[in-house]
Subunit: 540 residues, 2 copies
């Protein structure tokens, strides 16, 4: 029996209509060298219509990709809204990619148009000769200078295009399962892979950002989006803000602590989103230059684990609650949000905040243990996290990657536990966990246990082949140069701290642990060093 309900499609055009009319007076603020630029949502609505007309004029039809190479600003918001609403696919390019990755991604997505901020032209122009599908370069900013581009690419001024276009557009009806936007994974191994979000997935995700089970963004909030729009659609904040009638505060290229603090003082956000390093930088700045930021009620933090000390600092020094969230490009990104249960108090409340959070109602999650079976959500059993749901990807765009999926679930590559009440605690990456005799040993837990010894500067743990147990842990440890401790001492130190079968028998004292460009342990290189015989290993 079919329901009698209307067969409405969830669509970005519907969201655009709603926000630009019923929340007409909300605004998107863009920071500039000379302060704030302001644009009401009513005006954004009119300019979106003009942008859609302009893109049609440039030949954008059907589901062609319109890329952006932009900071967070009003024009980027317009591209977010107008491009999907006209039926095309908006594709934010990560401006921080290596050139060859950028070229690969733009060619793979077959981007037809690139909208680029004038301030980013010098990064993009050298790559244009390699971009095979790009026919139009649309440059934002008030006065667009001549740009030297390869034959076959036309250059346009964004503002000129809009100025000559009508401010109403008859948005087409679009199947909610059609692609609306694309992002590529950062791709630590292999080529970056594309994920295409649908109108439906973005709409449902945006609703969740506005629910009490999620970040609970609300009408009248002033939401500071530091998380770049080229990182998983700025965590969905631009769409959610337009849906619920929150104003958006966009830092453009002014992402250093000093201008951010200035922007915050001028625009008094009530809500914000950024990765931990941004908050850390801001905190250090505020220590030297005190400023009341308590108008910020809550911030969402993701991208990497948030140090507990940072959360406490923000609560104690600035009166700001930090909500950790977990997600990935493949999950739109909101998978879980660490909002403590209403009845948790004191220390318990903090323990909930330290987790990666409770899964959103539409995100189903399970853990697959070492033997390939689902392990219980008891807060202790460890497994690889698998998720599914309407804003979780079921494949990659134009690439076959069966190893990333398992019976219709996305394999996240993250390892951890889920509590009985649905809170995720990550302990490791699946590729770093040590598979020992059918059990898993968390490399991160072992590292923390070793680093608790006062003589240890840092410690990285990898799994190394073992004829009996498949893998056993190896600890690469950097010791304080003044300390006089042996491997045996460290081993003994651990006996009280980890289960007996987890005690590492392989130790290597090293001068330093290899690190990635962002300062994380480079375990891949550590593994190569071991395999190449470059580590002096003591067995105990």
């Amino acid at each position: 029996m079919l329901s009698t309900m209307q067969d409405s499609q969830l669509s970005i055009a519907q969201l655009l209509r709603y926000g630009s009319t019923f929340h007409a007076d909300q605004e998107v603020v863009t920071w500039t060298e000379s302060g704030a630029r302001r644009r009401s949502y009513a005006e954004v609505g009119r300019r979106c219509a003009a942008l859609a007309h302009a893109l049609r004029t440039l030949g954008v039809t059907g589901d062609q990709r319109v890329a952006t190479f932009m900071w967070n600003n009003a024009e980027h918001l317009e591209a977010y809204l107008a491009v999907p609403s006209m039926g095309a696919v908006v594709h934010p390019l990560n401006i921080r990619l290596f050139p060859d990755q950028l070229v690969h991604i733009a060619n793979h997505a077959e981007d037809h148009v690139v909208i680029v901020d004038q301030s980013l032209l010098s990064l993009l122009v050298p790559q244009l000769p390699h971009l095979r599908s790009v026919k139009h370069l649309v440059i934002t900013g008030p006065n667009v200078d001549d740009v030297d581009v390869p034959a076959g690419i036309e250059v346009h001024s964004y503002e000129d295009l809009l100025a000559s276009s009508p401010t109403e557009f008859d948005w087409p009806e679009i199947d909610e399962r059609a692609a609306a936007a694309m992002c590529y994974t950062s791709g630590t191994t292999g080529d970056p892979k594309g994920v295409a979000y649908s109108h439906r997935s973005i709409y449902l995700h945006s609703m969740t950002v506005c629910t009490t089970a999620g970040p609970a963004l609300k009408q009248g909030d002033r939401a500071l989006a530091v998380v770049p729009q080229f990182h998983v659609m700025a965590w969905g904040l631009p769409y959610a803000a337009f849906m619920t009638g929150a104003s958006l505060i966009m830092p453009d290229r002014f992402l250093q602590p000093e201008p951010l603090a200035e922007l915050i003082a001028a625009e008094r956000p009530t809500f914000a989103a950024a990765v931990p390093t941004v908050w850390l930088g801001l905190h250090r700045h505020l220590q030297r230059h005190p400023q009341d930021v308590s108008h910020i009620d809550e911030v969402i933090v993701g991208g990497s684990a948030v140090p507990a000390s940072l959360m406490h600092t923000f609560a104690d020094d600035h009166g700001i609650g930090m909500l950790q969230l977990w997600g990935m490009t493949e999950t739109s990104p909101l998978g879980s949000v660490a909002r403590p249960p209403a009845d948790a108090e004191g220390e318990e409340r903090w323990r909930y905040r330290y987790t990666q959070g409770r899964f959103a109602p539409l995100v189903e999650a399970r853990l697959i243990g070492p033997d390939g079976a689902v392990v219980p959500n008891d807060g202790e059993s460890i497994g690889e996290l698998e998720v599914r749901g309407p804003w979780v990807t079921g494949e990659y765009y134009g690439v076959d990657a069966p190893e990333k999926f398992h019976d219709g679930w996305l394999r996240t590559g993250d390892v951890g536990s889920i509590s009985r009440d649905g809170f995720l605690t990550l302990t490791d990456r699946a590729k770093d966990v040590i598979k020992s005799g059918g059990e898993w040993i968390s490399s991160v837990d072992l590292e923390n246990a070793v680093m608790a010894h006062p003589a240890v500067i840092e410690a990285a743990v990898i799994g190394v082949p073992d004829p009996k147990w498949d893998e056993r842990p190896l600890v690469a440890v950097v010791l304080d140069e003044n300390a006089d401790v042996s491997v045996a001492t460290l081993h003994t130190f651990l006996t009280d701290r980890v289960a007996k079968w987890q005690l590492p028998e392989n130790w290597a004292i090293v001068d330093d642990v290899p690190k990635t460009s962002v300062g994380k342990f480079d375990k891949k290189r550590l593994r190569s060093q071991f395999h190449d015989g470059d580590l002096t290993v003591t067995r105990i």
Copy 2:
């Protein structure tokens, strides 16, 4: 280009799984003569599985209808969750219907099973001989006595059925557009008409109940559902509570102010939903028997317009914010919620609260004026409200009613204005508005203007045929018996108060205005009185 997102279905089973695991410790409280009965959501989950097994045993297959004839209680919640999750359709019957309406509805829906509260048996049993499709009567309560039913109907004890059934069920995958639940309109004219909600519509509606744009129900709330589960699915509260992890407080049959106050004192709800008369009754009771109810943070009120005085009283005397909402059976029901904008202050804030509220993001609304064209959302232009969206009905179940729809929009029969920021103010019913020379005159506005005269006890306005203007207003007025005012005086009184073209020329002084069973003006009868020549009309 299709997105790469998973093709997950929004489903009640998913919601049931989520709430009964990650919010396992939340509870549904049912009030009884001897205090509260409690059941955790984990237990509700197990009992839903058992109920589904039991219904299968009774032969419930496919999308068969399982009716309920129940108060708000834990068992009714189980039926709400289990029946749709197994693929069948839950159909709450209104226990207050006239017998012939009840019989019509149950036969029309082809209810196969009726789950009935023991306390309501005496109301249902006399109608059983007329119910053509019912094969099973399932009676809730601890000790089910023998019941005399017609041949062909089997009687079961709800608890016995559950006790003998497994507590896990392999919920089937269901198309999200399949029917999950049914309600019939109250049908003031003609037969009641059925609306079939889908898994999708219920899921999206529940999300909205948990968004900041809606009632913002949240984890840890204790939600008192006074609005009956047989009235538009209790405004979606049971599903939303299960989704977000709010506990439910169910009054069962204890709906009078005294036991309600007792229930409130014992269970300390933080949120509640009921029609205005319930709040009025509770307020009167609290005046005589003071009790702190300030733990109730917010209540949602709908079903009929909320008197401003009641809102102020609840704010001033009890510290409770009242959120008016507008909706109907055909809209699931949440259409709009009167949450004032964040920047509205003082008197302005109250003015927003007096409206029917701002439309939810997924409810599109427009006003059709007297000439059939869309009128602007300027807060002044008046038109008939039409809505569309994924939880708005597009037809009625098994009945053709083209007059209720207009180019895919639902004609609500309500007349009013929409402000620029999307707030609805209803002024009349479409059938009561006076169509005069291509313009509309609100009968309610005219009534209020006339009633402002001190000599007027009450006044009802209807449209009567006019050769030149199609219709003109007629005022039926009840005068204070001690007053000595003429129709001319009243007419003069109005000249400053309404536009000249709206001034009524037809007046009838009457002893009383005919009323419906719920005390509203019965304008249908007033119109008959006019047509039958039973009114003495003075023309001016």
